[in-house]
Symmetry: C2
Subunit: 200 residues, 2 copies
Amino acid sequence: MTSLYIALVHYPVLNRKGEVVASAVTSMDLHDLGRSCCTYDVPVCYIVTPLEDQQDLSRTLIDHWCEGVGRELQCDRAEALRRLEVVESIAEAVEDIRVRSGREPGIWATTAREREDALTHQEARMVLAEGSRPHLLLFGTAWGLAPSVFDQVDGVLEAIRGVNGYNHLSVRCAAAILMDRLLGAGERDENGRQVRLLPV
Amino acid sequence: MTSLYIALVHYPVLNRKGEVVASAVTSMDLHDLGRSCCTYDVPVCYIVTPLEDQQDLSRTLIDHWCEGVGRELQCDRAEALRRLEVVESIAEAVEDIRVRSGREPGIWATTAREREDALTHQEARMVLAEGSRPHLLLFGTAWGLAPSVFDQVDGVLEAIRGVNGYNHLSVRCAAAILMDRLLGAGERDENGRQVRLLPV
């Protein structure tokens, strides 16, 4: 397992008008994030929502594919969705990582905006390759993480820059690209399994 | 614009049982592929389906976001979806590239399976950086491109290898990762726009 955890945050995020809201869970996000986390061996993807009906919806979807008929039909979906954990808040995700790993995780936010203080993907990859402690990477749904989140993190990762300045990737695709940049192309053993993350 | 075109193929593809079928269009694929293509400046993403109702559905969705209310509401969606072209077959996509570019495109397939004859992503990137002719990159929906497609292409790109052997990415995420590997991180001018694709 890698030492990078992911959180898909539905609160606090911004809506189109810049107001802080709780967004609705999108089932496709759960499928795609689960599969990407499985591909890059991210131990847990936290689905963060304080709304009980959205928590229930997420758990129903996860249970459908991890138990009974769904699992029999497509076992690779069960493998992917088993990595998802529904939590009420970012704080609950952080606490869960503390319990699992016995260490205090670093917290990184992502943004589509340019920031001068941003950590480059190469710098973040170096930190992960050192592996001194786990990290939690936050992705905002809707129009992105609310400003209050940025005050509570240890760093913000640079935006994925488009070739021509356009940077409106879906959160599913942005997360996949970032996992590939941060965790892909490491050293492999004779069976093709990645055994060590290389700094670059 | 880059010289790489993308096609999201709904026929001929395989279903779970390995039979050749035409798959249904997923609206989320159109949104995500449009956005990723816009980000990496892929001129056109072809939505390949011979089914008239699926062509109509795709065009209705594209028109909704590119015209009228949809465009006013979210102009970045219009920018993304404008890159989508609905075509009947892979051959029609190839013909369209011929007409647009005046050159014969190379055709590459993608697969989630390991193949000894596969082109590495680095090799494909070098070909694109040389820029001698346009290329069309085919992604299969459902359980992947039908075997007959592989007989008609100039090359097959290596699979995106998971860290631990799991490789069931969604086609949306696989396409985003491949565009990033093949077209990202090039040379930029003082305004931050990518002006040249570097071989590695």
